[in-house]
């Protein structure tokens, strides 16, 4: 039977469909003993469109596990990576998550990149009570009991970024350009509200534009931006353009004669990884906002980079923000397990809140009760070698805010997973758990 023996599914398939009783004996997960390894699930796409970004994260986690094992493992047990490939296919993410939790019975999962994939696995993690560490900057508006968001929330990236543009660069006019999916949509909505409410920027001075994934013809939009910038006020572009669409975008900017001095572009999705694939010429001088850059000048970072170069065996390899997020997340989890003395999900969930570990930029990251962490915000300027020259950074770390204060729906919401509240969407106005509009809308409904 040409079915790989280390794939339990195949065995179940055969056993159940053909009822071949001979097969599959003793393949079931046996009762946990203290000496068998702690299973760490890795849920990153290794094939398909997202593989470019996600496969490096898989390697990162594997590296961290290896390091942990060298350091004697955890609770005297070794760690073992369980890698599955959701193949950049969102339904498959849910399926694989189920496989990890129900089949492999892993103790923790590090994974996901896109919001949609996270949304797809969320119900699975809540149903089967798993732990997920999500390492990518995202749109916020979410706080799940089972998910820990080690990437930036909008207030840890977008908002400081525009603060920087306004206060340091003197920008008065913003073009919010993004790929048409939920992260740019939400981020831009937050920024629109923030710019108008906090900085009194006129609505006419904000331009919003969305393009499809992998958009390659930017001529019209760029010339629109150019005209938008000719109205007299210093203008900047806030780009939430995703992945492949970036190269043609920056190229068109450069060719239409817009350089960073005239209209700086600050990007939230362009990091070292993305730059390593493109002709950086047109990007030089433009900006990016992250919580970590490979060029951070600290010894922790240099240690991390060296370890990474050794692990990949590629001297050209780069590190980026989501990798640091995994680095932090992994250490937090390990710390929490030590604290709890067990890998039991509920125990770890309780223990991890308040855990503080060093980040790579010389500071510390703490896990907040809303399952987000504290991060510094860095602004970097693209250099021709694909590195970022750090031009500004927040004086202190910023705590991630699950519910934006600038969206009507989520203004009054907070998340706090400590007892007694234990609620991801607590409404401070009517003091109830379960969303901003629950009570009054229900009343309104009744009134009708």
């Amino acid at each position: 039977m040409a079915i790989p023996t280390h794939n339990p599914l195949s065995r179940r398939f055969v056993t159940s469909l053909l009822a071949a009783a001979v097969m599959g004996v003793g393949t079931q997960a046996v009762a946990q003993e203290s000496d068998d390894p702690i299973k760490v699930g890795i849920l990153h796409s290794l094939s398909g469109t997202m593989a470019i970004s996600e496969s490096t994260l898989k390697d990162t986690v594997e590296m961290l596990i290896a390091q942990q094992n060298e350091a004697g493992g955890l609770l005297g047990r070794q760690l073992e990576a369980v890698v599955v490939d959701p193949a950049s296919n969102w339904p498959l993410f849910a399926e694989r998550a189920r496989e990890l939790l129900a089949q492999e019975e892993v103790d923790v999962v590090f994974g996901n990149w896109t919001s949609v994939s996270r949304k797809a696995v969320l119900p699975v993690f809540e149903e089967l009570n798993g732990l997920l560490f999500y390492p990518v900057q995202y749109e916020g508006e979410e706080s799940s009991e089972n998910v820990f968001y080690t990437g930036a929330a909008p207030n840890q990236q977008a908002i400081p970024a525009v603060d920087y543009l306004i206060n340091e660069v003197g920008i008065e006019r913003f073009a919010l350009v993004g790929t048409d999916y939920v992260y740019p949509r939400t981020t831009n909505r937050i920024l629109e509200a923030y710019l108008q409410e906090e900085h009194g920027i006129d609505e006419a001075d904000i331009m919003v534009n969305y393009t499809p994934f992998g958009h390659s013809d930017w001529q019209n939009i760029v010339s629109e931006i150019r005209r938008f910038g000719e109205e007299g006020k210093p203008t900047a572009v806030v780009s939430t353009v995703n992945g492949d669409a970036n190269v043609p975008f920056y190229r068109e900017l450069a060719n239409q004669g817009i350089d960073a001095a005239d209209i700086p572009v600050i990007a939230f999705s362009v990091g070292e990884q993305e730059l390593s694939g493109i002709d950086t010429g047109p990007l030089v001088g433009h900006l990016a906002a992250w919580n970590y850059f490979m060029s951070v000048d600290t010894d922790e970072n240099y240690d991390f980079i060296d370890a990474w170069l050794d692990w990949t065996g590629d001297e050209e390899a780069v590190t980026n923000d989501p990798m640091e997020a995994h680095y932090i997340g992994f250490n937090m989890w390990a710390e929490a397990v030590r604290k709890a003395g067990t890998t039991d999900v509920d125990a770890v969930k309780d223990a991890i809140i308040g855990v503080t570990v060093p980040n790579l930029s010389g500071g510390y990251a703490a896990m907040m009760p809303n399952h987000h962490i504290t991060k510094p915000v860095l602004i970097g300027e693209v250099q021709d070698n694909g590195q970022f020259d750090i031009v500004w950074q927040t004086p202190s770390t910023v705590a991630g805010d699950a519910w934006s204060d600038f969206l009507p729906g989520s203004r009054d919401l907070i998340a706090d997973w400590r007892k007694p509240m234990e609620c991801g969407n607590f409404n401070v106005v009517n003091g109830s758990c379960g969303g901003s509009t629950a009570v009054e809308e229900a009343e309104a409904a009744l009134a009708e």
Binding site: S16, V84, V182, T186, L413, N425, A438, E441
Partner: protein
């Protein structure tokens, strides 16, 4: 297909066929077996089928139904639709919208009416096309009507002006591509790239309980059986023979006095509706529907399932769908990079070496005559 059964009432004819009896037998046996192994046996028993696997099979079955739908038009009508994913996805979205409405005020914002994505994108009220989806009967009707209507309009235009063969394939592909772009747009009010997810319950059953999942698995099985019977009944009827006639000599059929374009339209719509049902069964089992189901690649993959299983047999389509998807599950688990090679290789091998598919082999072995398309070109 000899006309020996044709004296019966058309819907009952299939029961007279050996293949159909065999197919139904195997299918029902499999359903029963999985159910027993899942329910009766305790966790950890060697033969226990866990919820995850049941869920997986459920998905395969809904795919199989989709494949049957494609085989109906491709195998018997000679229309290679590269856009059936669109009908599948439309059915899925109809179901997804129903499930969204079922969440009610349990969404993160606790809004009693608006789905979460509408709340944080500041929609103040529910768009008109979301109305009614809180009622199961309406939603399920839409599962049939939405794809059916699209197929009707599109098919009417296409067949009326005798767009066939490659041209049809290409514009069906363009159709699903355009729909994908459209559904990616957040303005459309279908959740954009994130699609619809975080479903809670269906018809009052908790979607997160393994019993419900078993139920959905069985439902998919039954739907597949019924869909298969319907298609079988169609192809064994005189209408089915008109389809084959059209496939092989369209002009001739016209000169016999058959209004070919309307036979094509009829079958095309039926097939689209079946695809819609498949989508509706698929969504609650995988827990998400998003525009990627519209992607041309998916639609072409469906065609491969059919080609591999064997065209113009229907049961071949089922075999193909299950084979390919099982292979996909295994491959992406074991050697991710190899999957695309395998898939691509399949496309080439099947078309060049195995034009009649697996079922063709069976048929050859059983030396029984199965209707074969010769040149599928028009």
């Amino acid at each position: 297909m000899t006309s020996s059964h044709s004296t019966r009432f058309w819907l009952l004819r299939p029961f007279g066929e050996r293949t159909t009896q065999l197919f139904l037998g195997v299918l029902l046996a499999a359903l029963a077996l999985v159910t027993v192994l899942h329910v009766a046996l305790p966790q950890g028993h060697a033969l226990h089928v866990n919820a995850y696997t049941v869920n997986l099979f459920g998905k395969y079955l809904s795919y199989a139904l989709l494949a049957v739908a494609v085989d109906l038009v491709w195998g018997y009508l000679g229309i290679l639709s590269l856009g059936h994913g669109a009908f599948f996805a439309l059915g899925g979205y109809a179901m997804g919208m129903y499930l969204m409405r079922q969440i009610g005020d349990r969404g993160t914002y606790g809004h009693p009416v608006l789905p979460d994505f509408m709340v944080f994108l500041n929609w103040e009220s529910l768009p008109w096309y979301w109305q009614g989806f809180d009622m199961a009967w309406f939603a399920f009707a839409m599962v049939l009507l939405a794809p059916g209507l699209l197929a009707l309009v599109f098919g009417f235009l296409a067949f009326r002006s005798r767009v066939t063969g490659v041209y049809l394939s290409i514009i069906t592909q363009a159709l699903t591509f355009a729909l994908m772009l459209a559904f990616f747009r957040n303005e459309m009010g279908f959740g954009g790239n994130n699609g619809l997810t975080d479903f809670r319950e269906i018809l009052g059953f908790n979607l997160r309980s393994s019993d419900t999942r078993l139920g959905l698995f069985l439902a998919s099985g039954v739907a597949l059986a019924l869909g298969y019977l319907l298609c079988r009944a169609i192809v064994t009827s005189k209408l089915g023979r008109v389809c084959v006639a059209t496939r092989d000599a369209e002009a001739r059929t016209r000169f016999l006095g058959y209004r070919v374009e309307r036979f094509q339209l009829f079958v095309f719509v039926v097939s689209a509706m079946l695809a819609g049902v498949a989508g509706a069964l698929y969504v609650p089992q995988v827990g998400i529907i998003n525009p990627s189901e519209f992607s041309p690649l998916f639609s072409i993959e469906i065609v491969l399932w059919v080609a591999l299983g064997g065209r113009a047999t229907l049961y071949g389509a089922v075999i193909g769908a299950i084979l390919v998807n099982y292979a996909k599950t295994v491959f992406t688990g074991v050697m991710p990079d190899a999957w695309l090679f395998a898939l691509g290789g399949l496309f080439v091998l099947v078309t060049v070496l195995l034009p009649k598919g697996v079922a063709g082999l069976f048929a050859h072995l059983r030396r029984r005559h199965v209707t074969q398309p010769q040149e599928a070109s028009a």
